[in-house]
């Protein structure tokens, strides 16, 4: 940690000693932010645990109303997008701007596909009335015996909805990364924003990896 900094690059803020301190600070804060995200979802996971333990049979039966294939497809899409995100960072580390942009665009498209599939799932549920709380109106024979199935769908919509919101925010951030990288603002010298957004994107992926089995694969 020297005070002397021979080449003070433009991205170095004046209140940091050196590039390294600035980078370490960003990374540290990003992980702290991830902690707050985990705790936000933790509240909902607790609600899930409470109601699944109250209504174990209903949860098992209600989950059969979800489309496992679409859920599985989304899982594959999102895991792949995590890979392309990591490759984008790897490419910028090698100063391969073109590959990095390609990978970011791929990540963006995968995110879009994820939301598209989610949209199909949601519209189907709206049509048949598999909805939260008071709005639940599904009358299918496979759900006639269920005890409070709207609770399952309340939790399903809140958790996947909040996750979907994170995907949408992530898309905005990735779009900005595509722009910055294309413009040449991010290089192997300085790619902190890409790494930080990458961490965020992996978290979004990770949350889905918990949501998928908890909703689609019970019983």
């Amino acid at each position: 940690m020297g005070h002397h900094n021979p080449d003070s690059p433009s991205h170095l803020k004046h209140y940091f000693h050196d590039v390294n301190q600035q980078y370490e600070t960003s990374k540290f804060a990003m992980w702290a932010f991830i902690l707050t995200e985990v705790l936000t979802f933790a509240g909902l996971f607790v609600a899930y645990i409470v109601y699944r333990s109250w209504y174990p049979d209903m949860f098992v039966d209600a989950h059969k109303l979800l489309d496992v294939n679409k859920g599985l497809m989304n899982t594959i899409v999102l895991i792949t997008s995590s890979l392309t995100m990591a490759l984008a960072i790897w490419a910028i580390q090698k100063n391969n701007k073109k590959l990095s942009v390609v990978m970011l665009v791929a990540t963006f498209i995968f995110a879009l596909v994820f939301l598209g599939i989610k949209y199909l799932e949601y519209t189907h549920k709206f049509e048949v009335g598999q909805l939260p709380g008071e709005f639940y109106s599904y009358m299918g024979p496979d759900a006639a015996h269920l005890n409070n199935p709207h609770i399952f769908f309340s939790i399903y919509f809140i958790m996947t909805g909040l996750h979907g919101l994170h995907v949408a925010i992530g898309m905005g951030l990735i779009a900005w990364l595509i722009y910055s990288t294309q413009k040449g603002n991010l290089t192997s010298e300085y790619y902190t924003p890409m790494e930080m957004i990458g961490i965020f994107w992996h978290l979004v992926d990770l949350i889905w990896i918990y949501l998928f089995p908890l909703f689609y694969l019970i019983g």
């Binding site: 705790l39 933790a42 609600a47 109250w54 939260p132 709380g133 008071e134 709005f135 609770i151 809140i158």
Partner: protein, 540 residues
């Protein structure tokens, strides 16, 4: 000190935009300070309205409905708009970077964003007032909060938004403490106020997200009837209480830990003695932050908890007393054989020791299940948390303001008036709230605009002294502001209390726009009064 000591963060740069768009942590701190004091007076006014209503039984001044609004808004404003944001936001912002020798916090732009998010949330709270208030109590318990026709949504939305401000400030402070310290300023050389802010920030970033999601669920329950908190739809209203207190009990420590930090600064400086048990105080801060997460159930002893949960929560609650006791003993031992000077900050610190100890000990009463079932929702609880929140936090906050006032603004207030006001606060506070312990023990329930004849005497005492308390706080704050008008300037190089931390030894009063003219080099620990002599310097 060099030729440009006339340039400080208050006069450079100039212009309204240089304030509104400032990235300087000191200016942002001031904006928090003034908005905080504004809300403090607003909340205080509501408290006085309630006290005057309670001077005699019956509805003399306001109706039951207005009274319900008054206590809800009093609680919500004091907690969410004043205490939680104001101490970290104001004193924390002004002091933290100075204390660690940094030019600013780790993320200055985020810091400004925090302030505006806080202001935006406050707008919703103000809208609530204009639009007719909210009557659920600051806890927004379901099922009433899902049925009340008052402004539950604007208020909870405001709290949800302010929560983000709290989280971002916490993140910023944690990153600042970890990464922005000057070389040589190791963890055990940090001023204890920094440790306190660190503990506070940890709780802010870990507990506040749960509040945010709880507020979202409450709003969804109102808008969509999701049924999670509604027994008619198979949900559980008690789950709301669990979620709420999982945040709001740790939030108690968001409110009190910074106060502990202030006291840990005031006592050694004004006793000119090395702090006793530095590491004990530092680690007790972290243990309080940790234990605070495990005790939320003690708010719910009468909510239909299992006996087993009651015993566990009660048992863990007692543990909070250990690190808290460690702090109290450390402060007392610091004063022992020190050169105690009875300055205004020290008066407040001494008042804190008395009042907080009473608040803490009555907390142990309430942590005991058998006693709590009798005292739950009575004035005993009201008195207990006011002894902690006002007698503890706000008294410490006033002490901190008096301690760092000459540093922050380069002016000195009238110390005699400050001492008299401090005495008025101490006596007025005890006069107001001690009778409430007795009222609670005799069965006076909280949140009622009227009461039985038998409580008249104690209630009228409480009301009388609340007037004295209100006037004293008003005089104390006005005395501070009067120092601007009187322009009783201190020398830019002055160190009126003989403080040893970097904000006293290495920068001018008020500080330089970039905090230090050159990066400070640490020469001694924060409380090395046994090794180094620091002169008290006041005027030229």
């Amino acid at each position: 000190m060099s030729e440009n000591t006339k340039q400080n963060y208050l006069n450079h740069p100039k212009g309204i935009m240089s304030w509104l768009l400032t990235l300087d942590h000191k200016r942002i701190g001031l904006m928090y300070l003034f908005s905080g004091i504004l809300f403090f007076f607003l909340g205080g006014l509501l408290a006085l309205v309630m006290r005057f209503e309670l001077a005699a039984p019956g509805n003399d001044i306001i109706s039951n409905e207005v009274y319900n609004n008054a206590y809800t808004l009093h609680g919500a404003i004091m907690i969410f708009l004043f205490i939680i944001p104001a101490i970290p936001g104001a004193l924390g912002n002004i002091l933290l970077p100075l204390m660690v020798g940094a030019k600013d916090v780790a993320f200055p732009r985020l810091n400004l964003a925090s302030f505006y998010i806080y202001s935006f949330g406050a707008l919703f709270a103000m809208y609530t007032i204009i639009n007719g208030g909210v009557d659920t109590g600051w806890t927004f318990y379901t099922p009433y909060s899902t049925q009340s026709t008052s402004n539950v949504v604007p208020m909870t939305l405001g709290i949800f938004i302010i929560g983000f401000s709290s989280i971002l400030t916490g993140l910023n402070f944690i990153a600042t403490v970890h990464k922005m310290r000057i070389p040589g300023l190791t963890w055990y050389k940090l001023p204890l106020f920094v440790w306190a802010l660190y503990g506070t920030s940890l709780v802010q970033i870990t507990a506040t997200p749960v509040l945010a999601i709880t507020m979202v669920l409450l709003m969804l329950e109102r808008f969509l009837g999701i049924g999670i908190f509604d027994p008619a739809l198979g949900g559980d209203p008690v789950l709301y209480q669990h979620f709420f207190w999982f945040y709001s009990h740790p939030a108690v420590y968001i409110m009190i830990l910074p106060a502990f930090g202030i006291i840990s600064e005031i006592i050694p400086v004004h006793s000119r003695k090395k702090i006793w048990g530095y590491k004990f105080i530092a680690y007790s801060t972290l243990s309080i932050a940790f234990i605070g997460f495990l005790v939320w159930g003690h708010h719910m002893f009468t909510s239909g908890q299992s006996v087993f949960s009651q015993i566990v929560f009660s048992f863990i609650t007692y543990f909070v007393g250990i690190p808290t006791g460690v702090k109290i003993f450390s402060w007392i031992l610091t004063m022992y054989k020190g050169q105690v000077s009875f300055t205004p900050p020290m008066f407040y610190a001494l008042a804190f020791l008395f009042l907080f100890t009473i608040g803490g000990l009555t907390g142990i009463f309430l942590g005991a299940v058998a006693l709590d079932i009798h005292l739950h929702d009575t004035y005993f609880v009201v008195a207990h948390f006011h002894y902690v929140m006002q007698g503890g936090t706000i008294v410490a906050f006033l002490g901190g303001l008096h301690h760092w006032w000459p540093k922050s603004f380069g002016v000195m207030y009238n110390q005699t008036i400050a001492n008299i006001a401090a005495l008025g606060v101490f006596i007025g506070f005890n006069g107001t709230f001690f009778p409430q312990f007795l009222l609670g023990l005799r069965g006076m329930p909280r949140r009622y605009a009227t009461y039985d004849e038998q409580f008249v005497e104690l209630h009228s005492y409480s009301t009388f002294w609340s007037g004295i308390l209100g006037i004293s706080i008003f005089i104390a704050v006005m005395n501070l502001f009067w120092s601007f008008i009187k322009k009783n300037k201190v020398d830019p190089g002055s160190n009126p209390w003989g403080g040893m931390t970097l904000e006293w030894t290495h920068t001018s009063s008020p500080p330089h726009p970039h905090n230090f003219e050159e990066e400070p080099v640490l020469q001694h620990g924060p409380y090395d009064y046994d090794k180094v002599i620091v002169e008290k310097t006041y005027k030229k």
